[in-house]
């Protein structure tokens, strides 16, 4: 076997660079020549080891470059992305702060029933004017009659003279105990005078009085009244929940707000 010629041929064979006829001839020669077989096997393993060695070297080089870049902080989040992340974080903080401000400043604060009563109890003043007007427009005679007595009592109420109004309404109810309007404003006058038990009793009747035009107002004031009585917070809540769902009740929003505060 000529060493120079055969090594070159062996490499051509191993690298697949021979023509078909050339390869067939080479393989036929190998079958007859054990030394050639051994030389091919040797070169195959040597070249394989060289290839593998370079491949391992490439792998190590890549890993070294990776580690080197890691040491330089290359794999940390890029500055531009960090800035973006900071901006996002800042925006999130502002939003969180905004929510916090809303939570503490705008959200209804939880308060006690007595304080809630103080904030939400305002003696009815809108409809009382209409009632007084209606009593005048009827054109009753100058003598003090039933309507005049009620009108005078309601005038005291409108002026804020709650004790006088209560006395007058009480006197009126002695003669006309079924007058719901008188009972209602007497209850409001009593609430203004801190006579909650008496007021609650009147309002509880009115709250169930079908046909009474101010029935929903009676329930509202009854709920407020319950806020000042012992052990009646539950009934107060139930009344407020009912009123908070009633879109035709003019104090629906106040009822919802008060419920959130309780």
């Amino acid at each position: 076997m000529s060493n120079d010629v055969n090594i070159e041929q062996i490499h051509q064979y191993l690298f697949g660079e021979m023509e078909v006829t050339e390869r067939e001839a080479f393989e036929a020669a190998m079958e007859k020549d054990e030394a050639l077989q051994e030389a091919v096997r040797f070169e195959q393993q040597l070249l394989g080891a060289i290839e593998q060695s370079f491949e391992e070297q490439d792998r190590k080089n890549i890993e070294q470059v990776d580690r080197q870049l890691q040491g330089q902080g290359f794999f940390e989040v890029p500055r531009s992305m960090r800035r973006l992340a900071l901006r996002v974080a800042a925006a999130a903080a502002v939003i969180a702060l905004g929510i916090g401000i809303w939570w503490f400043a705008l959200k209804p604060q939880a308060i006690g029933p007595a304080l809630a009563f103080g904030q939400y109890f305002h003696p009815e003043s809108a409809e009382v004017n209409g009632i007084i007007e209606s009593l005048i427009s009827v054109g009753f005679t100058p003598e003090m009659n039933r309507s005049d007595s009620l009108r005078e009592a309601l005038l005291r109420y409108r002026e804020g003279g709650y004790q006088q109004a209560a006395d007058a309404l009480g006197a009126f109810l002695q003669d006309h105990p079924q007058n719901d309007t008188a009972r209602f404003y007497l209850a409001l006058a009593e609430m203004s005078l801190s006579q909650y038990e008496s007021a609650a009793a009147r309002l509880a009747d009115l709250a169930q009085a079908d046909g009474f035009e101010q029935q929903k107002q009676a329930r509202w004031y009854l709920a407020l009244c319950y806020l000042r009585l012992e052990g009646t917070l539950g009934p107060a809540r139930r009344l407020l929940e009912e009123l908070a769902e009633d879109s035709r009740f003019d104090k629906q929003l106040e009822a919802r707000e008060l419920l959130e505060k309780l």
Partner: protein, 182 residues
């Protein structure tokens, strides 16, 4: 020669500077790809390393020509690697008793040990070679380039490359023969 062709030449030569350049130029692209496909940043680093190695293997193939951009090739390699890895994660682990779990026979173990020993010997021997010798073997054996291409890359004549390659290989042959590993 374009920048990409320069990088290609450096990759063939196994220069670290080529890997560094590719990291700086294309790592973020691969990282975005992997993250977009449900991976993490650490996984993106693994994939990029593997992709670089596959790239080097790809350019070794006979007749390889860079027709498009290197970034396109690297992107395609990285994408395939990541999708393969994700698919592999979904394949259940083989139950005990399957054929793959049988221990290799004594002959197999012996052959593996001999192969490892040969690799270590060749690696140590290559490290002792002069740079030109190692470069000729890298281009000629590992990169499978022709004598003419090696001559062009190294600035030598073809005849010189042919002789150089023969002598360098002969040096390794002697070392291996003397080791009695083969």
């Amino acid at each position: 020669m374009s920048t990409e062709q320069e990088w290609l030449a450096e990759l063939r030569a196994g220069k670290k500077s080529a890997y560094e350049a590719l990291y700086h130029r294309h790592f973020r692209m691969v990282e975005s790809l992997v993250v977009r496909l449900g991976g993490g940043r650490e996984q993106a680093r693994d994939i990029f390393q593997e992709a670089l190695l596959v790239l080097v293997q790809s350019i070794r193939k006979p007749g390889f020509q860079l027709t498009g951009k290197l970034s396109t090739l690297l992107y395609a390699i990285a994408r395939n690697l990541w999708l393969k890895r994700k698919a592999a994660d979904k394949i259940p682990i083989q139950e005990a008793g399957s054929l793959s779990n049988f221990p290799a026979g004594e002959d197999g173990e012996k052959a593996a040990l001999e192969k490892d020993a040969l690799l270590q010997l060749v690696t140590e021997s290559l490290a002792q070679l002069e740079d030109d010798c190692r470069a000729v073997l890298r281009y000629g054996i590992y990169q499978n380039l022709s004598h003419a291409e090696i001559a062009r890359l190294m600035g030598y004549t073809e005849a010189y490359v042919k002789v150089k390659k023969f002598r360098c290989l002969e040096y390794l042959r002697k070392i291996v023969r003397n080791s009695n590993l083969l």
